[in-house]
C-alpha cells in the first residue's frame, strides 16, 4: 500500500488570522445603533419632560379642569400667565407676579441691544475686513475665543467691581442700576455676536468685495453697501441668539445688584431694577410650595419670550434668503 501524500488542507476557515466573529459583529452593530439613538432621544425627552412638568406645575395654580380638557386647560394656562404678568412682587404666593421683572428684562434687552450690537458687529467687521493678517488679529481672535468660555459669574464679578463700584471712585460708580446691568450683559454676549457676525461675513463671496473695490468704492463703502447687506441674515440670527442668552442670564445680574424687591418700574437707565430670571430665582428658593407654581409660571413666560425671539430670527433669515434669491 502506497501512501499518497494528503492533499494540503483548504486554507481559509481554520486560519489563525481569520476570525470573522460573524454573530458578534452582526449583533454589535444594531445594538450600538439603538444605544446611539436612545442617547440622542434623551435630549428630546428631557425637553418634553421639562416643558410638561413646568406646565403641569403652572396648572396646579389654576385648577378646576380635568387633564384631558385640553382647550380649557390652555385657556386657563394663558389666563394664569396674564394674571401673573400683571402682579407685582409679593410675599403672598397668591398675589405674587412678575410685572417688574418683565419690565426690567425688556429694559435690559433694549439697552443691551444698543450697546452690544454696534460694538460686536464693529469688532467682527474690523477682524474680517480691516485687520491685516498677523499677530494683532491672532491675539484678538484668540482672546474672543477665550472670552466665550469665561463663566457668566466672572462677568458678574467684573461688572460688580468695574461698573457698580468703579473701584471705589464714587463719581464714576453706576450703582446697582440698569446701566451696570446692561453693560455687564453686553460684555457677556459680545463674543457670541462677534463670532456669529464673523461667520456671516465669511460667507460673503470675495468677488462681491473685489467688484465694489474695482469700481472705486472705498473700503467702508464696500462694507456698508455690499458686504453688510449680504451678511445681514446671518448677523441678525447671531445677534438675536446673543440677546436671548442675555435675557436668560441670572448669575451676573445677581452680582451687579438686580434687587429682589422692586415695586416701582424703572423710569430711566439709572434706576434700580429687577429682571425676570432673578424673580424666578427668588420665588424658586422660597420654602412655601405655592411659590413653586409662581416660579413655574415665570419660567413659562421666559421660555415664551425666548421662543418668540428665536422664531423672529428664523423668520427674518427666511425672508431675507427668499428676497436675495429672487
Amino acid at each position: 500500500m502506497s501512501h499518497e501524500p494528503t492533499p494540503p488542507a483548504p486554507p481559509a476557515r481554520g486560519d489563525a488570522l481569520y476570525h470573522p466573529h460573524r454573530t458578534l459583529r452582526r449583533l454589535a452593530g444594531p445594538l450600538f445603533g439603538v444605544a446611539c439613538f436612545v442617547a440622542t432621544l434623551t435630549g428630546v425627552v428631557v425637553l418634553s419632560v421639562l416643558l410638561g412638568s413646568v406646565i403641569a406645575r403652572v396648572l396646579q395654580g389654576a385648577p378646576g379642569h380635568a387633564w384631558y380638557d385640553v382647550t380649557g386647560n390652555v385657556r386657563r394656562l394663558f389666563a394664569f400667565l396674564a394674571e401673573v404678568i400683571g402682579r407685582k412682587q409679593s410675599s403672598d404666593p397668591l398675589a405674587a407676579g412678575f410685572k417688574m421683572g418683565v419690565i426690567g428684562s425688556l429694559w435690559l434687552l433694549g439697552l443691551v441691544a444698543v450697546f452690544a450690537i454696534p460694538v460686536g458687529v464693529g469688532a467682527a467687521v474690523f477682524l474680517e475686513e480691516y485687520a491685516p493678517a498677523g499677530r494683532l488679529k491672532r491675539i484678538i481672535q484668540t482672546n474672543i475665543a477665550n472670552l466665550a468660555g469665561v463663566p457668566s459669574i466672572v462677568y458678574g464679578i467684573l461688572g460688580l467691581a468695574l461698573f457698580v463700584r468703579a473701584f471705589g471712585f464714587k463719581a464714576l460708580a453706576l450703582g446697582p442700576s440698569l446701566w451696570a446691568g446692561s453693560l455687564t450683559l453686553s460684555l457677556l454676549i459680545l463674543p457670541v455676536i462677534v463670532i456669529a457676525t464673523q461667520e456671516a461675513l465669511r460667507t460673503v463671496p470675495p468677488s462681491l468685495r473685489q467688484a465694489a473695490l474695482a469700481l472705486g468704492a472705498t473700503r467702508w463703502q464696500m462694507v456698508r453697501d455690499h458686504v453688510l447687506p449680504a451678511a445681514l441674515p446671518g448677523i441678525l440670527t447671531g445677534t438675536i441668539l446673543g440677546l436671548s442668552r442675555a435675557i436668560g442670564e441670572t448669575a451676573p445680574l445677581l452680582m451687579v445688584g438686580a434687587a429682589g424687591s422692586i415695586l416701582r418700574a424703572p423710569k430711566g437707565p439709572s434706576d434700580r431694577y429687577t429682571a425676570l430670571p432673578v424673580e424666578i430665582y427668588n420665588y424658586a428658593k422660597e420654602a412655601d410650595a405655592r411659590f413653586q407654581t409662581v416660579a413655574a409660571a415665570g419660567i413659562l413666560l421666559l421660555l415664551i419670550l425666548l421662543l418668540s425671539m428665536n422664531a423672529t430670527a428664523i423668520v427674518i433669515r427666511n425672508r431675507y434668503a427668499r428676497q436675495r434669491s429672487s
Binding site: 442617547a39 458687529v121 464693529g122 464679578i157 425666548l306
Partner: protein
C-alpha cells in the same frame, strides 16, 4: 480675509469726469477704521478688565484677611464667620469637582453617542429635526434647569433612595450633577458632531470596502479620526460644568463640606460667590473680598481648560486633503 487690494485707484491725469480724490471720503475712512478698531479693542479690554479686577481684589483679600496663599489654597475648612475666620478653598473645590465629575459621567457618554448617531446613523430628515431640538436644549436658561432639579429631580431621588434607608436632603449634590449633566449634553453632542461629520467620506468608504460593518466604521475609523474634536468638546463641557452657577445654586445648596455622600448639600465656587453677594457682608470685609479670590480660582481653572481644549483641537487634528 479678502484679497482685495489696499490702494485706492489713482486718478487719471486729465479726465473731466474725475473730481479728484474726496477729502470727505478719506476722512470717513479713517474715522470708521478707528471706530472699528475701538470695537475690537473692547473685547481685549474686557479680558484685561477681568484679569485686573480679579488680581487687584484678590491681593486686597490676602492683604486684609491676613490669610496666607497656602492656607487659602490648601485649607480644608471654610468658615468666614468663625473666629478666627477660616478661608480654605478646598471644600469649594471639592464641591465643584463633584458636580463636574458627576455631570461628565452623565453627559460625556450620552453626548458622544448622540453625536455618532447624528453623524453616522440618522436619516437626513430625522437629523434635520433632532439637531435643532438639541440646539434648543442648549438655549434654555440655566435657571430653568435649577428649577427642574428642585421640582423634579430631587423628588425622584427621594422616592428612589428613601425606601432604601438613605437620607436625601432637599438640596443635594446628585440632583445638581443630573441637571448640569443634562445641560451640557448638547454642548458635547453638537461640537463632536461637527467634527465627526467633517471626517471625509473616502475614509468611511474605504473601510466599508474592506468589509467593515457600520459599527466598526463608526468606532474604529470615524471616531479616531475625529478624536481631537471629541476630546476638545469634552474639555469644554467640563469647563462649562465648573462655571455653571444658577442650576447648582438651586440644586446643590450652600454648605461647604468635603464629603463623599452625594445626597447631602455641598457648595461650589460659583455658589459661594453668589452667596457672598446675596449676603450681608460689607464691602471691604475679608468675607466680601474672598469672593474675588474664589472668582480668581474659578477663572484660572476654566481658562486653563478652555486653552487646553483649543490646543488639543489644533495640535492633534488629523488634516485631510
Amino acid at each position: 480675509m479678502t484679497t482685495a487690494p489696499t490702494t485706492t485707484p489713482a486718478a487719471p491725469p486729465e479726465d473731466p469726469h474725475w473730481a479728484g480724490p474726496s477729502r470727505f471720503l478719506a476722512l470717513q475712512e479713517h474715522a470708521v477704521t478707528a471706530f472699528l478698531f475701538v470695537c475690537a479693542a473692547i473685547t481685549v479690554l474686557t479680558t484685561a478688565g477681568i484679569v485686573l479686577v480679579l488680581s487687584v481684589e484678590t491681593l486686597e483679600f490676602f492683604h486684609v484677611s491676613k490669610v496666607g496663599v497656602f492656607d487659602f489654597l490648601f485649607g480644608t475648612v471654610l468658615r468666614p464667620e468663625g473666629d478666627p475666620p477660616l478661608f480654605g478653598v478646598l471644600p469649594l473645590a471639592w464641591g465643584t469637582f463633584v458636580v463636574a465629575a458627576g455631570s461628565s459621567v452623565i453627559a460625556l457618554p450620552i453626548g458622544l453617542l448622540s453625536a455618532i448617531y447624528l453623524s453616522e446613523y440618522a436619516p437626513r430628515r430625522l437629523r434635520a429635526v433632532l439637531k435643532p431640538a438639541l440646539e434648543l436644549l442648549a438655549g434654555i436658561p440655566t435657571i430653568v434647569y435649577g428649577y427642574l432639579a428642585l421640582l423634579l429631580v430631587t423628588p425622584v431621588l427621594k422616592a428612589v433612595f428613601e425606601p432604601l434607608g438613605l437620607q436625601v436632603e432637599t438640596f443635594n449634590a446628585l440632583s445638581a450633577c443630573v441637571v448640569v449633566g443634562v445641560m451640557i449634553i448638547p454642548m458635547v453632542s453638537s461640537l463632536s458632531e461637527d467634527v465627526l461629520s467633517a471626517v471625509p467620506r473616502g475614509l468611511r468608504e474605504a473601510a466599508y470596502g474592506l468589509g467593515a460593518t457600520k459599527f466598526e466604521v463608526s468606532t474604529r475609523v470615524v471616531l479616531p479620526a475625529g478624536l481631537s474634536g471629541v476630546v476638545a468638546s469634552f474639555i469644554l463641557a467640563v469647563s462649562r460644568a465648573i462655571g455653571e452657577t444658577m442650576a447648582v445654586v438651586l440644586a446643590a445648596g450652600m454648605r461647604p463640606q468635603i464629603t463623599l455622600n452625594p445626597l447631602t448639600q455641598i457648595e461650589t465656587m460659583t455658589t459661594y460667590i453668589v452667596a457672598v453677594t446675596g449676603g450681608e457682608a460689607s464691602y471691604g470685609s475679608p468675607k466680601y473680598l474672598s469672593l474675588f479670590a474664589v472668582g480668581m480660582s474659578l477663572f484660572a481653572v476654566t481658562l486653563t481648560l478652555n486653552v487646553l481644549s483649543g490646543l488639543v483641537l489644533r495640535r492633534y487634528r488629523e488634516v485631510y486633503h
